[in-house]
Symmetry: C2
Subunit: 290 residues, 2 copies
């Protein structure tokens, strides 16, 4: 039976897995993300030793995903300086001599959710991770969206939520964008404690839900996904979901007519169907397509 | 040679055309939009007399474009009450007995621009019309986007522009959305004169460009189109383009790396390649696909 390599490349750790033709994870390990010189040989050795047919990489970004570009397959303007401009796709292709495919970590997760998870059977979905940053992966017409660069919906501007004590935001590029207002670090900065330590009745969560509802309403109006999946560390606070749904509906103001809206978005703004496995299964699906 | 029918269905007038296999418009006429009882027989007779093979309809919305829905092919929550819930697609199919296809007027225009116009050869584009309302059509992976309903990017919320004397907006659903702030009627309401009467040096245009730049920056971050095409009556003020480009770049804050951004968006935020013909040619392309 054929074996496929899957790499979920993150800024903190690299998760490597081997899966069979049916997507069953046979083996998995992770190593800390250091410099390419330190980390790449170890990863290449892992996949080489396991004789995988192909490799899929879901990677932190931004990435150059335009096959016609001279810097295709590189990590571009990342704040992780050792990886800036690193040609991760080409490096794996050369080291392993097998087909390899690259996409953003969030596009990988969106792909996995659309093939195997919460958006199975649908033509489109938006997957958003809310954690250290806010990132969005987008499937439309069954395929990940790249376009000019790739979606970076975490950086759309939002409006300060009513009563927000930190209305200026912390994004170094945009200040008051979704990531600047609603990421884990912005919660920490605003309230002085981490998201995990804030009790459900704390006003922090009304503020948080406002920003995530702005993102959801904006997505629904802009490109009309058939499902919005919210994952990542901050969304482990499950009580956020009904608050986000309610605020999204209020912001839409009755403008979008759809059974999903009439049902209060209950099945529309939803948790990942694959739990925390969306990322690695996305990388596996990229390997299958490589 | 085969002949195709094209209908650009607007709230004010219905533009009907017949085109040949190469997209050449052979004949064109328009009639005022009255009630379906008054307008439909006249339109059906026009196309029946010309023995068209198929009909494409680019229609004002919102529309139900989900083939699995019981109200597929209907105009839904339009303020034009006589047309609300009118099954325009089914009515033409029954009256003419030929294949017919329906999409939003702006998706039709986006399709025409992507096949024949400013986005020719690209996989994706956003077409926005700025006039009585603000509507957006979206092509991704070469096909119009529908999703949950269809894009309604004119209704994304924006932030009041610096010094805007009417920061609350006029959209009955959202107040301060792009349409509520930057449509022709909102310009008229804010300044007491129509867009056509405002000279280029009037502060109205800085305000207008701010809102349209918010829309462009938001689109680039959300779904990353390869080109943004701005058409419609308000965009006849061509001096708006460089101002919108400059403000969009400022809002992106250096976050998106792309040759288009490095080139100052000069070829990226652009006029329609088909002038005012995008709509009718879009309807023709829909007929070809029907």
């Amino acid at each position: 039976m054929k074996r496929y390599g899957a790499l979920e490349a993150g800024g903190t750790k690299m998760v490597m897995a081997v899966a069979d033709e049916e997507g069953k994870i046979l083996e998995r390990t992770s190593i800390p993300t250091q410099t390419p010189e330190e980390t790449m040989p170890e990863m290449a050795a892992f996949f080489a030793e396991r004789s995988v047919e192909a490799l899929g990489i879901g990677c932190f970004g931004p990435l150059d995903l335009n096959p016609a570009s001279p810097s295709y397959g590189r990590i571009t303007a990342t704040p992780k300086l050792a990886w800036r401009n690193y040609p991760i796709l080409q490096a794996f292709r050369e080291k392993l001599g097998i087909p390899a495919a690259l996409d953003t970590d969030v596009n990988g997760a969106a792909l996995a959710e659309s093939v195997l998870g919460a958006a199975k059977g649908l033509d489109s979905c938006l997957y958003v991770t809310v954690g250290t940053g806010i990132g969005g992966g987008l499937i439309i017409h069954g395929k990940p969206v790249h376009g000019l660069m790739h979606p970076e919906i975490g950086h759309i501007r939002v409006r300060p939520a009513p009563g927000d004590p930190m209305p200026e935001g912390i994004c170094p590029y945009h200040g008051c964008c979704a990531e600047g207002m609603a990421s884990g670090p912005s919660i920490q900065k605003r309230w002085g404690v981490s998201a995990k330590e804030l009790p459900p009745e704390h006003p922090a969560w009304e503020t948080e839900a406002d920003y995530l509802a702005q993102l959801c309403a904006d997505a629904m109006l802009s490109f009309s996904p058939e499902k919005i999946i919210l994952g990542g560390g901050v969304m482990q606070q499950k009580f956020l979901f009904p608050v986000i749904r309610e605020k999204t509906l209020a912001m839409l103001g009755g403008y979008i007519s759809s059974p999903a809206v009439e049902a209060g978005l209950a099945d529309y703004i939803t948790e990942p169907g694959l739990g925390t496995e969306s990322g690695i299964l996305g990388a596996y699906l990229l390997a299958r397509q490589a």
